[in-house]
């Protein structure tokens, strides 16, 4: 019989497979690596379509798809107390010790963190995105974050810029915020066995075609680059509201044969699109940590990116003193500067060796490393002293003149509801789930597991 799991972690977020994106990937890979380190990991998310109830994924990763319908942008409707019973049941059933919430605009995550704190569990929060301070949306979002993080044990951010942002937004002490970046599954993103010929240079763009991802920059940059370099062609993967603008641009400049629009690219096909190109172009206007760049670099593509958010920290830069060669050419988010950066990238393209770049990425990023670093954060969280309700309330009270009192009311009501639930269904009445360890999976690479999962999803 295997030794009992060291830590019992519940990952909570609105964003999980079958939805696709950076957060979903992060949770999945982190969970897989934590499972391999001998911890127990359970994921809680909302139901996707008819995928509701408990599912098992690769490596015995248990996923609770809570029957709670998404409201806007895949987040659940904020009911504040609606999720208390199910969160309590899951925490008890799985004998959880640490609750780990992901993503600042996941309402499910905020609610679960609040209930977990009320019940005295240790909570960790990972922030995956950047927010400004000026517009109405951000101001409200930041207040919610402040409430959610007021009494948190430890927080994680995906880049140093994101850490600065989170500290400013939530007023947390910087010592409580850890910087643990995302990683890339280098085994899944290998360069092509035969490198495409450099007679025709292919520039790949894979992003959702929305304003925040800089689709408008692409509209300006692509015709200019095509005019300067007759041997350049573009492959644009992704869909979104700005798709029409790109199509218009293509027609206006008669670039139908040089700009290929692929539409939405499923994650399992991203690698096959990436390996057809030489240069990866990222035009985001804001980015906490760009996984797409890592995936491209892992496939051996030279990246041209806008200098926004956490991007400059993510990869060794061109001309950096620390490493002799380069992986990313940065530009200001301005069409002229981006065209110059692409020119520069094309000029240094012959010196790029995809295999070498792939091997370097292997050393720079791995999910195992991320999991080990997250483990340290969990240990720190467990060492935090338990606080009484009164101590915790005083923290909420300091959140603001009106907001502080409101937050206190919310927490008191949550506590009372929890007490009521304990009367209706005592803790002892909740059945505990047995721990299932899938030992034969322990040797299997995580990436292969994901491929299997992909097959199931696409099939």
């Amino acid at each position: 019989m295997a030794e009992p799991p060291k830590l019992r972690v519940l990952m909570v977020s609105d964003f999980f497979f079958p939805n696709f994106g950076g957060v979903e990937n992060h949770i999945y890979y982190l969970s897989q690596c934590l499972l391999k380190l001998g911890h127990k990991v359970v994921v809680m998310t909302h139901a996707y379509g008819n995928r509701s109830g408990v599912r098992y994924m690769t490596g015995g990763l248990k996923v609770y798809y809570v029957p709670w319908r998404p409201f806007v942008m895949q987040t659940t409707f904020p009911t504040v107390y609606g999720t208390l019973p199910i969160v309590r049941t899951i925490l008890r059933r799985e004998k959880i010790t640490v609750v780990h919430g992901h993503q600042a605009f996941s309402t499910l995550c905020h609610e679960a963190l609040m209930h977990a704190r009320t019940m005295g569990y240790k909570v960790v929060f990972t922030d995956h995105s950047l927010y400004g301070f000026a517009d109405v949306g951000s101001i409200h979002m930041n207040k919610v974050l402040q409430f959610s993080l007021a009494d948190i044990d430890q927080a994680i951010c995906v880049s140093h810029t994101s850490k600065e942002n989170t500290v400013l937004r939530s007023g947390l002490s910087p010592a409580k915020v850890f910087m643990i970046p995302n990683a890339v599954d280098t085994a899944m993103f290998k360069p092509a066995s035969v490198r495409p010929s450099t007679d025709i240079i292919t520039i790949v763009v894979i992003s959702r075609l929305v304003y925040r991802k800089g689709a408008d920059l692409l509209v300006e940059v692509i015709p200019e680059v095509c005019r300067l370099y007759p041997n350049v062609r573009f492959v644009v993967g992704g869909d979104g509201p700005k798709h029409v603008r790109l199509e218009e641009m293509r027609e206006k400049h008669s670039l139908q044969d040089r700009v290929e629009m692929l539409g939405a690219v499923p994650h399992s096909r991203v690698r096959s699109v990436l390996v057809t190109g030489h240069i990866f172009l990222n035009s985001s206007l804001t980015e906490a940590f760009c996984i797409a760049i890592l995936e491209a670099a892992s496939c051996g593509l030279l990246t041209v990116s806008t200098r926004v958010g956490g991007v400059p920290e993510a990869c060794p830069l061109h001309g950096s003193q620390v490493l002799p060669d380069d992986m990313v050419v940065l530009a200001e988010p301005d069409p002229d500067d981006m065209v110059r950066a692409i020119e520069k990238a094309i000029s240094i393209l012959p010196s790029i060796n995809p295999e070498e770049m792939h091997n370097r990425m292997k050393k720079l990023y791995s999910w195992q490393d991320v999991a080990k670093r997250t483990e340290i954060v969990y240990d720190r969280a467990l060492k935090c002293s338990n606080r009484s309700l009164l101590e915790r309330l005083s923290r909420f009270l300091s959140c603001g003149a009106w907001a502080g009192k409101l937050f206190c009311m919310v927490m008191i009501l949550d506590y009372l509801l929890w007490q009521l639930l304990q009367l209706l269904q005592p803790d002892e009445d909740i059945e505990e789930a047995p721990d299932i360890r899938l030992c034969h999976h322990r040797g299997v690479e995580v990436s292969e597991g994901l491929k299997e999962e992909d097959k199931v999803r696409n099939g």
Binding site: G132, E164, A288, G309, E313, P333, I376
Partner: protein, 303 residues
């Protein structure tokens, strides 16, 4: 870990602000460097406002308040039958003529004869249409009680004032580039519905026609005229505004003492108290910018 390294003779490597390459040797993940928040910029784009300037700008608001108050006064006098239809029509005509004159005088380039003819044709179409529709307006809300009509009219006017575009004009001069936004269109429509409701309580068709024409002229074109005056000469704009304020205050005084007091307080609030308040609140302004901000595009997006 840090202690061990500090004891070693080898100095620990310098911390770098990078995310790659795993945990940096000698530094925990929650290490906070001195460079933390170095790139934060505070209050970079704050505009220091000056009280006199804000007060001058607020005159536009009180001017429009006066215009709406004058319209309401005309409505009240018509409903009380102290203003007959002939003087109303005369008022319409003189307003139309003076409005045209102001537009002509403040315009940089002279209007051509053909454009003038086109305007006259449009106006005649408009008035004819309104004249034909007047009987419908008159009986439009017969089945609704007067109390509801007054209540709805007041709320619509408040909505109109709340959403009104005080900085420009919803009705643009021909050839203007920017199209009005949704909010100001809602505002204009609210005022028109309010005028229809009031007109439906009048005794004769001619009354309805005259009041509707008057209200539409003011609500649609007064912002354009005042905007043109303001653009032409700011001193003239102030003069015009103060003249309007005087006229309004006098007319309200003649009607009702309490309303006069309320309106006077309102004008003072808009022109003196609110600007002072805004300036006082400036010191609480706290703006944070940094590398986490969304980049702004330096070119216009035309969808």
């Amino acid at each position: 870990m840090e202690k061990n390294l500090a004891g070693d003779s080898i100095p620990r490597p310098k911390w770098r602000k990078v995310a790659y390459g795993g945990m940096q040797i000698g530094y925990d993940d929650n290490y906070t460097d001195e460079s933390f928040l170095e790139e934060m910029v505070m209050n970079a784009n704050v505009v220091r406002r000056d009280l006199l300037k804000v007060m001058k700008d607020s005159v536009s608001i009180s001017q429009y308040l006066c215009i709406v108050a004058l319209v309401v006064l005309v409505w009240v006098h018509t409903l009380e039958s102290s203003l007959d239809e002939n003087s109303l029509l005369l008022l319409d005509l003189s307003l139309l003529a003076s409005g045209f004159l102001i537009l002509l005088l403040t315009e940089e380039k002279m209007l051509s004869l053909s454009l003038l003819l086109r305007y006259l044709l449009n106006i005649s179409f408009f008035t004819t249409g309104l004249y034909i529709l007047a009987p419908i307006y008159q009986t439009l809300t017969r089945s609704i009680s007067s109390d509801s009509i007054w209540a709805v009219t007041v709320s619509l006017l408040l909505l109109h004032l709340f959403l009104h575009d005080y900085s420009g004009s919803t009705i643009r001069a021909p050839g203007a580039l920017k199209t009005p936004n949704l909010i100001s269109c809602i505002s204009v429509n609210a005022s028109i519905v309010a005028s229809v409701f009031v007109a439906s309580r009048l005794p004769s068709r001619l009354h309805v026609f005259a009041v509707m024409l008057f209200s539409l002229q003011v609500f649609l074109f007064a912002p354009l005229v005042t905007y043109c005056i303001k653009k032409f000469n700011f001193g003239l704009h102030l003069l015009f505004s103060f003249a309007l304020m005087g006229l309004t205050l006098y007319s309200i005084y003649a009607l009702h003492r309490l309303f006069f007091l309320v309106f006077l307080l309102l004008v003072l609030l808009v022109n003196v108290v609110c600007p002072y308040w805004l300036i006082r609140m400036q010191e609480y302004k706290f703006e944070i910018n940094g590398p986490w901000d969304e980049a702004k595009l330096c070119f216009d997006i035309t969808d």
